[in-house]
Each structure stands twice: as structure tokens, then as C-alpha cells.
């Protein structure tokens, strides 16, 4: 009978002891060698297997800077942004964190990011000219710079050589165009058991991402998504509509691509498992695709339409505007953009480093993957998306309309016009709130 009282007492005691013991366990301010050290926090998302390499580089940084201690906060992709926002709301965001173009303008407009331009100007050891200009452009807004470039990725066509050979289709040539692409996609699509449903698709069209999937087709057709001053959405214009029609025909008319639900569930895994002949994928997928054992693959540049065009996906490292240790954070930011760190990126197979000399060196072009050089070639003309404030809202407005197109439920022209209208409204709100700030 008394056991309940005992359990209660015991549990309370355990609770009290644990809470007390926990209160005193935050230290890590002094270094093992007794020098007083500044602690800075650095947050990024990534794959578990990247952690160890990251920690080693941090140790190497700490050896060069014995007065700085870097705490790595490794976050999961799923909750990275929510957490960062909660931390910013509480005023406790990490001193240095990984940032993408989509959120850069939003956070900057709300005073969360340190303008790095003065830091760059003051520091002679760092020259932005050494980096791919696009990755600098992503984080540049007027005279401000919101992050130091980390990587500079782009999207190209990965193709399954084994399927091409089996179907007797010649491999893509570097100067191929839309027509050639469509013929190859058709020729590779295969319904082995004749049940009316392809078992192998010619092309792994995706629909979720403006950047990886459909955006650059618009550019290739001399179309635009937003105008230069980012005040108007241009999707309703004839060139853009024509490009979107070409893309949607792949799934709706020619049936050489998986449908929306399938593509959203299986995504890149369709290529990895040999169920598509061609797939538009980022340069960050090389490492993942090395898992493919049963077929040979290579990389071809994106086919050209009326012109050549390709997207840039660049991440940067930003400094928290309310960081208490900005000098130390700056030193670490520079390290992340330095040759030493960039070489790690080059070797990882998950990124093209933003530092040009590393990207163009044999460290990146290691000869392991056929056609890797096309990424670098594309980077001579590739462009970032038209990032602006409320970009998530803009993407969502467009996605909703285009989805009906991919499903064959709405005419391309009508959907594109409606999308443009919805985006124009958001851009108009941006202009108003921009004036208020």
C-alpha cells in the first residue's frame, strides 16, 4: 500500500537531483590549455556522414585560432528553418549558420543578418572575386551582402547509359536541344509488359521545385519568371507559356514522365533505382548516385532551347546580427569560405565549392564521374532564381496553379496567367511593406 508513496517520493527526489545536477553542467568556456576562449555556435543541416569531417575541420580551425571555440549544432533538414526562426524570435540564434537564397531576403529585411559587406571591405585576406559571381549575387541586396558563398551548385541531366544502350538510343551530345531531348525521352520510355503503363520512363520530370525542375525551361525559351526589377511575374507571357506547355506535355501528352504523386514520393530515387532513363538532378546528387550498382550513368548538360540556360543553387554562411562575438564569427566565416574548407566540399561529392580555383581544380574534377565538367561549363551562364522577399509565398502561389497543369486539369495559358496574377499581388505587397520599413 505504501509503495505508491515511496514511488512518489523517489521520483520527486530523482527529479530534484537531476534538475540540480543539470544546472551546473554548462561550462566549456575555458580551453584545455587554460587560455580564455570565445565560444561561437555554428549551425547547419546535412547528412549524418558529414558530421565527422565537419568536426575535424572545426578542430583544424581551432588549432589555428586557439582563442576561439566552435560548437557545431548539427540540425536535421526537416526542422532546420523552424528552429532557426524560433531561435531568432528568442534572440538566441547561432552566431554562424547555413542559409539559402530563399530565406536570405526575408531574414535580412527583419534585421536578423549581419551585413558582411563592411567586414569584407575591411579584411584584405578575402576577395569575393575568387568566388563564382552567382553565389555572391544570391546574397547581395543593393550594397549589402548577407552571407559568404559556400557552394555553387547547378542542375544537369543525369542519364542511365545502360537503358540508352539497351534501347539503341545514342547518348546525349553536349549541344543537344529540346527536340532531340524529347525524341530520346520517347525512345527510352518502355512498357515491358504492355499494360499501358510505362515500366521505364524516358524522363524523370519533377514538379515540386522551380529551381530543380521547371524554372530553367522557361529561361531556355527566352521567358522569365519575374522581371528584372522583381516587380512583375512574367509567367503569363507567350515564351514562358510555351515552355511550360512543352514541360507539361512530357507527362500529359507524351507520357514519358511519372505523374505528380509518383514523382513527389519517389523523386530522385526513380533514377537511382533504374526506373528512368534521364533525370534532372543537382550537382549535389553525385554522392547519392554512386550507390547505383546495376547500371552505368553519366551527366549531360541541360538541353538548350532558344538559348542555353541553367539554374544556380548556392548556399552561404551568414552571421547572426545579434551575435555577441562577431569578430570570432567572422574568423570562422572566412574559414568556411577558405581553401581548406572548400576542398572538403569538393571531395564530398555533395557540392560544387564556391571558390572557383578549387572547383576548377583536379580536386573537384577527379575523373570519377563522366560529364562532371558540364556542371562547371553550365556555371558560365547559369543564373540564380529571382529571389525576393516572401519567396516561399511566391513559389507556393505558382506551384498551386501549375500543379493543375501537370495533372492535365487546367490549360497552361490560363494557369500561367492566374499564377502571374497571384504573384503580382504578393510583389505589390512587398513593394508597400518595403516602403514602410
Amino acid at each position: 500500500m505504501n509503495t505508491w508513496f515511496h514511488v512518489t517520493a523517489l521520483a520527486l527526489a530523482v527529479g530534484v537531483v537531476l534538475s540540480l545536477s543539470g544546472c551546473s553542467d554548462r561550462s566549456s568556456e575555458e580551453s584545455p590549455r587554460g587560455i580564455s576562449r570565445t565560444t561561437i555556435r555554428y549551425s547547419r543541416w546535412g547528412l549524418p556522414e558529414e558530421i565527422e569531417a565537419e568536426r575535424q575541420l572545426i578542430r583544424s580551425f581551432e588549432e589555428k585560432h586557439p582563442d576561439i571555440h566552435v560548437v557545431l549544432e548539427f540540425s536535421s533538414w526537416g526542422e532546420y528553418w523552424n528552429k532557426l526562426q524560433a531561435q531568432m524570435a528568442a534572440g538566441t540564434a547561432p552566431d554562424v549558420f547555413l542559409l539559402n537564397g530563399g530565406y536570405s531576403n526575408d531574414y535580412a529585411a527583419r534585421g536578423q543578418l549581419e551585413n558582411l559587406k563592411p567586414w569584407v571591405d575591411r579584411d584584405t585576406s578575402l576577395s569575393l572575386e575568387q568566388y563564382f559571381p552567382q553565389t555572391v549575387a544570391i546574397f547581395q541586396e543593393g550594397q549589402a551582402l548577407w552571407a559568404l558563398p559556400r557552394d555553387c551548385n547547378t542542375v544537369a541531366i543525369y542519364y542511365n547509359k545502360t537503358i540508352f544502350q539497351k534501347r539503341g538510343v545514342p547518348f546525349p551530345k553536349p549541344d543537344w536541344d529540346w527536340q532531340d531531348f524529347l525524341e530520346k525521352a520517347k525512345a527510352c520510355t518502355l512498357d515491358e509488359n504492355n499494360d499501358g503503363r510505362p515500366d521505364i520512363f524516358g524522363f524523370n520530370a519533377g514538379y515540386d521545385s522551380m529551381e530543380v525542375h521547371w524554372g530553367y525551361w522557361v529561361w531556355q525559351n527566352n521567358g522569365e519568371i519575374l522581371n528584372k526589377s522583381k516587380t512583375k511575374c512574367m509567367l503569363g507571357e507567350p515564351n514562358a507559356v510555351e515552355a511550360l506547355r512543352f514541360y507539361s506535355d512530357l507527362v500529359v501528352k507524351h507520357k514519358v514522365a511519372p505523374d505528380v504523386a509518383q514523382s513527389s514520393t519517389f523523386g530522385s530515387n526513380m533514377f537511382l533505382t533504374g526506373r528512368v532513363a534521364m533525370s534532372p538532378e543537382g550537382s549535389w546528387m553525385i554522392k547519392a548516385f554512386k550507390e547505383a550498382k546495376s547500371f552505368e550513368w553519366a551527366i549531360a548538360p541541360l538541353p538548350k532551347g532558344k538559348r542555353k540556360a541553367a539554374p544556380v543553387n548556392g548556399l552561404g554562411n551568414a552571421m547572426y546580427a545579434k551575435s555577441k562575438n562577431k569578430q570570432a564569427a567572422w574568423e570562422f566565416l572566412k574559414f568556411l569560405a577558405s581553401r581548406e574548407y572548400q576542398e572538403l566540399l569538393a571531395k564530398s561529392g555533395t557540392s560544387i565549392p564556391a571558390l572557383r580555383e578549387v572547383a576548377e581544380s583536379a580536386i573537384y574534377l577527379d575523373g570519377t564521374v563522366e560529364g562532371k565538367q558540364f556542371f562547371l561549363e553550365q556555371l558560365t551562364y547559369a543564373q540564380p532564381l529571382d529571389f525576393t522577399r516572401n519567396f516561399a509565398k511566391i513559389e507556393e502561389a505558382i506551384r498551386g496553379e501549375l500543379e493543375a497543369v501537370w495533372l492535365g486539369r487546367k490549360a497552361v495559358e490560363a494557369a500561367a496567367k492566374d499564377a502571374a496574377q497571384a504573384v503580382d499581388k504578393i510583389l505589390a505587397e512587398n513593394a508597400v511593406s518595403g516602403a514602410n520599413r
Binding site: 524570435a89 527583419r110 536578423q112 505523374d259 504523386a261 514520393t265 507556393e396 506551384r399 498551386g400 486539369r409
Partner: protein
């Protein structure tokens, strides 16, 4: 709820005093928890419905602006309709099926505990894993479900038994998600009902059997009244949970696809809170949902006096 009992006629009676003191004493941790962990955040969430807040800069008072916007927001109404559809589709089915399962596994058969554990697996399996498996089932080209439907159609010569686009079709996407959710949640309420069934004194069954009541009549007259407080609990919590459906939709039907047919209120709210940096409006949606849930729960509390025995 308030029951008159032999000793409570005078608030000043010694028993009333003892109950008062013990009542406060026993609820003290809970009250502290409410004050400390819930009161602040909840009032913040309610208050923010009247502010513009982007999570990052100080909130600006908005008056009723968010509510006006809500009133004219087509997507909000769409999400509301979808949510009601989800609640209506999942709650009754879930309760009936889980009670049936509970009765089944309440049988005293050898090895029944193995079945209990098996029936419980969907509950513990991570929603991510489950959603992936079900998306595979529903796949319009390669899914097992369509494979079976097609085979059956051919076998029986029924023309309308043809593959369905499931998650790609605005008409079937929500039912598909409801079916998955019911399946996933069955074991949960099953276990609650199982515990409730154990609580019904066996003597009552014996008495009823002596009076000549058959199994069915025993179920109606002994089992159902006996588990009614728990039934009330299951009904209320299932409703509250269903109104806030999020995880399944988040994984199986990103962005409310197709054609916003699976856009639910909490998903819509989440987008505003974290993707569009519009927490003020998110809280407005949250409050609208709160008022709705509160009203439905209030009605249930009033109605329960007619059917719950306590």
C-alpha cells in the same frame, strides 16, 4: 457533472472542507503546470491573432485586420471544409472499428496477446514510415491497390473497376488519407476501449445473464453504459485530434495537393507560421479553429449528460 451526494448539502460541513483542501492539494502540480507552461504561451497565441507578427520583429497591433482577412480568404474556407470532411470521415469510422477490434481482442483465447500486439503496431510505427508505405500502396501506376482493383475488375468482368488515381485525384485524395489515418489510429482507441471493457464489473454480466439477456442485449445494456465515460473521452479526444490533423497531410500530400483538396486548417496555419513568416495570421487561423473545436466539444459535454453514466 455536479452530483448531489449525501454529505454535500452544506459548504461548511467538515467533509466539504476536507474535499476542498484535498482538491486543491491534489491538483496543485497541474495548476502550477497550467500557470507556468500553458497560460503564457496560450494567451500569447490568442493575443497574437490581433497582431501582425513575423516571428522576428516586434509585433504590431492589427486590430481586427487578421479576422477581416480570414473572412475573405477563400483558401481558409476551403481548408475548413476539408478539415470538416476529414473529421466526419475519420472519427465515426475510427470509433466503431476500434470498439469492434477491442471486443474481438477481449476474447479470452490462447495467444490473444500476440494479436493485441500485432494490432497495435500501426500506432507505434512512425508516421513517416507509414505514410511512405501507403503512398506506395496508392501509387496510380505501380500501387498494390490498383493492381488488385484491376485484377478483380478483369476477373469479375466489372467495367467500372478500373485503376484510380488516388492521391492524384482531388476526389479521392482525402478519402485515401482518411483511410490511412483510421488504420493508423485504430490500435490507439482499441487499447483505451480494452481497458474500459476490463473496468466493467463482471458481476453485472452475470446478473444480466441470469435475467436471460443474450450477448447482444448484454452489450447494449451492460457494456455500452459501463464504458460510456470512456466512450465520451474517445469521442472528444478523437474529434480534437482530427480537427488538428497535420502529420499525414504534411507527408502524404505536400502542400494540400492535388488542387488544395487535402489542405487542412493546421497545415494552412503551419505554412503561414513558418514558411510565410506570418505568425499573426497563423494564430488567427488557430483561434478560429480553437473556437470551432471548443464549440463542438461544448456541445458534446452538454449532450453527454444524456448518455454518459458516471
Amino acid at each position: 457533472m455536479a452530483r448531489v451526494s449525501f454529505s454535500r448539502n452544506h459548504a461548511s460541513s467538515p467533509l466539504a472542507r476536507i474535499e476542498r483542501i484535498w482538491g486543491w492539494l491534489l491538483t496543485l502540480p497541474f495548476v502550477l503546470g497550467l500557470l507556468f507552461f500553458s497560460l503564457g504561451p496560450i494567451s500569447a497565441a490568442i493575443g497574437l491573432a490581433f497582431f501582425h507578427w513575423d516571428n522576428l520583429t516586434p509585433p504590431r497591433f492589427a486590430g481586427l485586420a487578421n479576422w477581416q482577412r480570414l473572412w475573405g480568404d477563400e483558401l481558409f474556407w476551403k481548408a475548413l471544409r476539408n478539415t470538416l470532411y476529414y473529421v466526419a470521415g475519420s472519427v465515426p469510422t475510427g470509433i466503431v472499428l476500434s470498439l469492434a477490434l477491442a471486443l474481438l481482442i477481449n476474447l479470452r483465447l490462447p495467444a490473444i496477446q500476440i494479436f493485441r500486439t500485432l494490432y497495435f503496431t500501426p500506432v507505434v510505427t512512425s508516421t513517416v514510415a507509414v505514410a511512405l508505405v501507403w503512398t506506395w500502396f496508392y501509387d496510380s501506376n505501380y500501387g498494390i491497390l490498383n493492381y488488385v482493383i484491376e485484377r478483380l475488375g478483369r476477373l469479375l468482368g466489372i467495367a467500372w473497376l478500373r485503376p484510380i488515381a488516388w492521391l492524384n485525384d482531388p476526389r479521392t485524395a482525402m478519402p485515401a488519407i482518411i483511410a490511412m489515418s483510421v488504420w493508423k489510429g485504430l490500435g490507439y482507441n482499441m487499447v483505451i476501449f480494452l481497458a474500459a471493457l476490463q473496468n466493467v464489473p463482471r458481476e453485472l454480466y452475470e446478473a444480466a445473464a441470469i435475467d436471460g439477456a443474450n450477448r447482444f442485449r448484454q452489450f447494449i445494456h451492460v457494456t455500452l453504459p459501463g464504458i460510456s465515460p470512456v466512450m465520451f473521452f474517445v469521442l472528444v479526444t478523437s474529434m480534437i485530434g482530427a480537427f488538428q490533423v497535420f502529420d499525414q497531410v504534411y507527408i502524404m500530400a505536400r502542400d494540400g495537393r492535388p488542387a488544395n483538396s487535402t489542405l487542412t486548417l493546421v497545415y494552412y496555419l503551419y505554412n503561414h507560421a513558418f514558411r510565410y513568416l506570418d505568425m499573426g495570421y497563423a494564430c488567427t487561423i488557430g483561434m478560429a479553429l480553437f473556437i470551432l473545436i471548443g464549440a463542438v466539444t461544448g456541445i458534446q459535454i452538454v449532450l453527454q449528460r444524456k448518455w454518459v453514466h458516471s
